[in-house]
Amino acid sequence: MTTQTDIPTPRSPYVRRKTTRGNFELYSWVFMRASGVVLVVLVFGHLFVNLMVGDGVKAIDFAFVGGKWSSPFWQIWDLLMLWLAMIHGTNGVRTIINDYAQRDLTRGVLKSLLYLAFTITVVLGTLVIFTFEPCPPDAPAELLASFCTA
């Protein structure tokens, strides 16, 4: 008996789909930690000022916001917080999508949605902070910060 069949290894070898090397994951990983540390300051500062000082959440209204954003200090603070938190959060959710969405298509769709949400939110937020008019001319004066009438 001499059956001449050249048969490959019986169990199909497992192949990694594709290798994606490069430092992107490394930088994003470092960024998560670095931004996290900065965010601790920014977020805690934000929360403290908004919720702890004075009457806390009760005191938040248009005038309060107007008062804050009339100062470049808080403008920068909030801008930084917005960007860092959004990049941090988006990257975090990206990881989660990578973890749980197994089909390429699902991954793609979810990530597109995520990046869309990211863009809208960041653009909108940035615009608002910079184009903000603390004393809109046609608004009732009692809703505005005290300095508007001054």
């Binding site: 008996m1 001499t2 059956t3 001449q4 069949t5 050249d6 048969i7 290894t9 019986p10 169990r11």
Partner: protein, 611 residues
């Protein structure tokens, strides 16, 4: 059924198999077939070390190593083989280091060495540091390193494939082959555990490296999978098994469990004590005490227990005392084995002595080979294209008792040699030899018979009965009476085996079926062991006959060769008949015929073995 063609097929992916694969795959198309994933092989369980006269820590040379090996084996060692091994040991260790094995280091950064039983300076003057080691997981590191290098060399593996038959162009159990006539190995038949499919490997050379057969005993340091497959397959094809009566019982198995505590424990200063706390080895081996060879220590321990000085509630074990050693030292040198004591017996070795008792450990015998690794079909003719190395083989470097650390060395030195010879031979063969018509028929018949038997005996019952009779009757102490009892029991069990059935009738991962097949191997190996032990009416090395307590060089300075032959065949196997070496035991449709083979002596005259 699938058919494959290779130049070299290696059966077994333990240390010997993979070392052979590394050599063979350099020059020949090689496949390794193993019933376990390579890294699961029992070489990984070896703890203590691998010796070589590197002289890294103190003066040493390979000639002393040769002498120790020969004396340790009670002069039944083939001295040419021992010389080869001791000489090539140095390169074997250095090869492994360069392959990446993380040996422990001396302060100068060289490979560290420690003491081990039976290894001495200047022919027995004092214990010498010769064992190279990686903590107490030397075997683990050897197995990993060899596997890693197989990955590097892209060696082809067939994992979880059980080799169930050896294909030859002559069946030696039935045909009468003349002296000098050519017998060739042509391939093997393997069973794929995952699918239940049979595969035929047609090949120019086969290397057997299937390891030991400790599961013929109940208390053993060996894995569940060490069922003597390679030995049994060769034996069933009519090839002899050499020196099967010599089985090593390692002194320090965890009492009741058989899990090994390496001799390194004693090498690092551990002391054996009886119930009275006495260091009893001082009485049995005054010079090297606890570091005497294993057969002597095991026997001394068993004797202490027999004479009522055993410890524990049933006075059935002795104690290994490490409590005088620094915990830090224990952690550095013996981390794994002290953890075994903690995990399995709940003993803290820092503060409490560990209960130990001898455990079946190593088969000195096996498939006879010469120093090139070629398998012999009688006293001197080789089977062409068939090689063996490791515990399955008998070159014989261990004689009647193996020294600690010589086996890891054996698998590396002779694994390499066998792999190299196999590839070299394969290169000289132009065409694969044809394999027999219906190569799988025998295996298929065996499997379907087992699978189709609706019900009958349970595999586990027969196996347990076998292991119990072997422990009771063929262990450290043996007599005519006990061995005859064992032989009778085995014959009975062979009968029961024909009525064994399995519950799992499927084809995927049918381990039930394979355990039944393995039981068949165990029965064959046990039978040969007992018959050979009955025949050897002397005490030598690991084989101790209470009714014949002395070594008898006049009649027994010979290797035992056991053959399976049809009942009608002539009784004497070859010309070298001495002592009782024409012994025949009938087992119904075949018989075990015992012959002999002279021991190769070069330089060392047999002397009394004293330590």
């Amino acid at each position: 059924m699938q058919t494959h063609q290779y130049d070299v097929v290696i059966v077994g992916a333990g240390g010997a198999g993979m070392r052979a694969a590394l050599e063979a795959s350099k020059g020949a198309r090689t496949a390794v077939i193993s019933k376990l994933y390579p890294t699961r092989s029992h070489t990984g369980a070896a703890q203590g070390g691998m010796c070589a006269a590197l002289a890294n820590v103190e003066e040493d040379n390979w000639e002393w190593h040769t002498f120790d090996t020969i004396k340790g084996g009670d002069y039944l060692v083939d001295q040419d083989a021992a010389e080869v091994m001791a000489k090539e040991a140095i390169d074997a260790v250095l090869d492994l280091e360069r392959m990446g094995l993380p040996f422990n280091r001396t302060p100068e950064g060289r490979i560290d060495q420690r003491r081990f039983g039976g290894h001495t300076r200047n022919h027995g003057e004092a214990a010498v540091r010769r064992a190279c080691y990686a903590a107490d997981r030397t075997g683990h590191m050897i197995l990993q390193t060899l596997y890693q290098n197989c990955v590097k060399q892209d060696v082809e593996f067939y994992n979880e494939f059980y080799v169930l038959d050896l294909l030859t162009d002559h069946d030696l159990t039935t045909e009468d082959i003349e002296d000098g006539a050519e017998v060739n190995a042509t391939g093997v038949v393997a069973y794929d555990l995952a699918t239940g499919e049979l595969h035929v490997f047609q090949t120019k050379a086969v290397v057997f490296a299937t390891g030991g057969a400790g599961k013929i005993f109940k208390t053993t340091s060996n894995a569940h999978t060490l069922t003597g497959d390679g030995m049994a397959l060769a034996y069933r094809r009519g090839l002899p098994l050499e020196d099967m009566e010599f089985f090593q019982f390692h002194p320090t198995g965890l009492a009741g469990l058989g899990i090994l505590l390496s001799e390194a424990a004693r090498g690092e200063g551990g002391i054996l004590r009886n119930a009275d706390g006495e260091r009893f080895m001082e009485r049995y081996a005054p010079t090297i005490k606890d570091l005497a060879p294993r057969d002597i220590v095991a026997r001394s321990m068993a004797n202490e227990v027999r004479e009522g000085r055993g410890a524990g509630p049933n006075k059935d074990y002795v104690l290994l005392d490490l409590t005088h050693l620094e915990p830090a030292h224990i952690d550095a040198k013996l981390p794994d084995i002290t953890e075994f004591a903690r995990t399995y017996l709940g003993i803290e070795p820092y503060t409490e002595p560990v209960p130990v008792y001898p455990t079946a450990h190593y088969a000195m015998g096996g498939v006879p080979t010469n120093i090139k690794g070629e398998v012999l079909r009688d006293g001197h003719n080789v089977v062409k294209g068939l090689y063996a190395a490791g515990e399955v083989a008998c070159v014989s470097v261990h004689g009647s008792n193996r020294l600690g650390t010589n086996s890891l060395l054996d698998i590396n030195v002779f694994g390499k040699r066998a792999g190299r010879s196999a590839a070299a031979y394969a290169q000289t063969v132009e065409q694969h030899l044809p394999i027999v018509e219906g190569p799988t028929a025998r295996v298929e018949a065996q499997l379907s018979e087992m699978r189709d038997r609706p019900d009958g005996e349970r595999v586990a019952d027969v196996r347990q009965a076998l292991q119990e009779t072997m422990d009771a009757n063929a262990q450290v102490f043996r007599t005519d009476e006990s061995l005859n009892k064992a032989a009778a029991d085995i014959r009975e069990l062979q009968k029961r085996y024909r009525n064994v059935s399995v519950q799992d009738k499927g084809s995927l991962f049918n381990t039930d079926l394979l355990e039944a097949i393995e039981l068949g191997f165990l029965l064959d190996i046990a039978e040969v062991t007992v018959v050979a032990a009955l025949n050897r009416r002397e005490s030598r090395g690991g084989h101790y006959r209470e009714d014949f307590p002395d070594r008898d060089d006049d009649n027994y300075m010979l290797h035992t060769m056991a053959y399976r032959r049809p009942t009608s065949a002539p009784d004497a196997a070859d010309g070298h008949v001495a002592g009782y070496f024409d012994h025949v035991e009938d087992f119904g449709d075949y018989k075990v015929v015992l012959g002999s083979k002279p021991v190769t002596m070069t330089r060392y005259e047999p002397m009394e073995r004293k330590y």
